[in-house]
């Protein structure tokens, strides 16, 4: 089986003031990667105008593009409209579901969505008390359940989970501890660990750290642009000794 090169970035926060600047960094991406995954917060305010900039910036690339939205992309209450704009530009947009791409004869399955917060094991909110707290926690639980189902049903050779919020606290190192519950939830990692995946990618934590791991041993990468400091990260999936010319 060929090795796959996964390019990924999140939190590009595009707007009219950045139009064209990111696109210039994507030239030649087909020589570095086989697919580009976008980990949410593609806009700053979640307006249709910003959505249009994102669609233009990532349209007609020589590699397939898969995206999830982030909290900023929800701010103007137009996430469905932004997702439609991106789909019209040829970008797959995940909303707690899956897409399977044929890349070099390998079935690459990508599962994911925005994700949500709540905190991490032992230091997290519970579905208890006021309805507002219950709704907050229940939102994450429902997302995690949908990811679990999507992963269970996924028929693919390689499995990548794409999220905006973080599934682990490893990749939040550098962020203030007090805001961890707003940066992610262990429920997301638990769902992925239960069904298995090769890699989890997320954004959201601008001051976090690139590399982490779930309790089940799945590699996690925080690909927020301010963390990477480069246009995108490239992660190579494959067994040792496979197709050594490619990775």
């Amino acid at each position: 089986m060929s090795q796959l090169r996964i390019a990924a970035v999140g939190d590009v926060h595009l707007g009219e003031d950045l139009r064209g600047r990111y696109r210039s960094r994507l030239s030649g991406i087909e020589e570095k990667a086989d697919v580009l995954l976008l980990a949410g917060d593609l806009t700053r305010h979640g307006t249709l105008e910003e959505g249009e900039v994102v669609a233009e910036e990532f349209r007609d690339l020589p590699v397939p593009v898969v995206a999830v939205l982030g909290n900023h992309d929800h701010h103007s209450d137009k996430p469905a409209e932004i997702a439609t704009m991106l789909k019209d530009a040829g970008i797959s947009v995940l909303h707690d579901d899956a897409v399977v791409l044929d890349v070099k004869g390998v079935r690459l399955g990508v599962v994911g969505g925005k994700g949500f917060g709540g905190g991490f094991a032992g230091k997290c909110a519970s579905e208890f008390g006021e309805p507002e707290i219950k709704a907050f926690v229940n939102h994450t639980k429902r997302i995690a359940d949908r990811w679990r189902v999507a992963l269970k049903e996924l028929q693919a050779d390689r499995r990548v989970v794409l999220s905006h919020y973080s599934p682990v606290n490893d990749t939040l190192a550098g962020e203030p501890l007090e805001i961890y519950p707003f940066l992610g939830s262990y429920l997301l990692a638990e769902a992925v660990d239960s069904e298995g995946a090769d890699l989890i990618l997320h954004g959201h934590a601008h001051m976090g750290t690139e590399k982490g791991m779930t309790p089940g041993g799945i590699r996690v990468r925080n690909v927020a642009l301010p963390v990477l400091g480069r246009a995108y990260g490239v992660y190579c999936l494959g067994e040792d000794g496979e197709d050594p010319d490619h990775c």
């Binding site: 305010h45 090769d198 601008h206 400091g229 480069r230 490239v234 992660y235 990775c247």
Partner: protein, 81 residues
Amino acid sequence: MEAPQYVAARVQSALAEDDRTHELGVRVDVRGDQLFLRGRVGCEERRELIADVAGEAAPGLVVHNEISVVDVREPGGEEKL
């Protein structure tokens, strides 16, 4: 005199909620009459807007804009997993 913690919280809220900024990742510290802003943003215009909004939310304080603009470098080497 208002406690500096409340001033910093008000500035942080303004940066998150003001239509001109919507920046959640900026660190705000107040020491005496000095206000410090730290973080990373995508361009110079956004950096300046943050200082404007912070100054409006905390009039009378001297704003030190220590926010840097993210330099999006060319993608580097890949990581083999």
